[in-house]
Symmetry: C2
Subunit: 195 residues, 2 copies
Amino acid sequence: MSDDIPGYTFGEESVPESPLDMPAFNRLKETVLFTEEDEEYLRMAGEVLDGQIDDVLDTWYEFIADHPHLIQYFSTPEGEPIEPYLDRVRERFGQWIRDTCNPPYDEDWLNYQQEIALRHTNEKKNETDDVDSVEHIPFRYMSAFIYPITATMKPFLENGEYSGDDVEKMHSAWFKAVVLQVTLWSEPYVKNGDF
Amino acid sequence: MSDDIPGYTFGEESVPESPLDMPAFNRLKETVLFTEEDEEYLRMAGEVLDGQIDDVLDTWYEFIADHPHLIQYFSTPEGEPIEPYLDRVRERFGQWIRDTCNPPYDEDWLNYQQEIALRHTNEKKNETDDVDSVEHIPFRYMSAFIYPITATMKPFLENGEYSGDDVEKMHSAWFKAVVLQVTLWSEPYVKNGDF
């Protein structure tokens, strides 16, 4: 199914290498306290979210659409939202949820984070979808999104058949996975040697 | 009391200006859904944490001490932890908790975030405490710390006399405030124009 997602190139040869090797990635995982238990709870979250992905995306897209300073990144430089661009990104965003809930995170996954990162910067934004939108997403909004992308997930995790304790653990694993990924996505934004 | 904290220069003339003006800061607050209700809950958190600050710092310092890849940033280039440096930073770290729990965040506060940011980079690390430590903290660890600094706060907030719902709201406000600040601290790390 992921083969049909426009611009989704996970595992393909065109994907760049991650600037982090596995030992460095492991140190980063330790810093966010990411363990095998989190991997189990992310897979559990994947089950719970299956069938709710569109609802999650509706929540996130509504949040973006409600804020002119956010929707502009899916718009023409003149400020007109580009529907086909929003639609294509939406499909990849859904797959991103599935991929996040499908650890362990291997080298293909790590490399794909670099591809995702670049697609938000001057270097590659708009290219995948061949659109005429603004040139990049400022890093401050990439970082700030850690909060809404984490917090809004909780009620969806509560919709499963798991107890409050399991929901907490799924949510905590999700939070770690989001911080981990946004951290990886910062690399092309950060000055040489400062990442 | 904050006058006695070594290197704490909040509100002083030496503090640089924030690269964000108030409207831009407000857009960032909107992105992390930060509202006046969060300000109330942060002040409530400040009450609950009063008297527990040292315990919070013990938790954070133990986490850092347990990881060689983290304690190195408080060590000599040869890897020897610098106790006076750890002690001075610890006092400011405690005051940082108090300041985070003392909104609204005004222009002095916003400017001081830039000072804090710079003190982690090549530009100003070690200067405030006149120490011979490594030259900077890589941005990836600044970003990754969002998780431990947020998650470890929960049990301390539960130690107060507030209900589970109030604890959730205090913790959520703390989470937003941490994401907001780490986002501001990214500015000197990020390439020109990409913040």
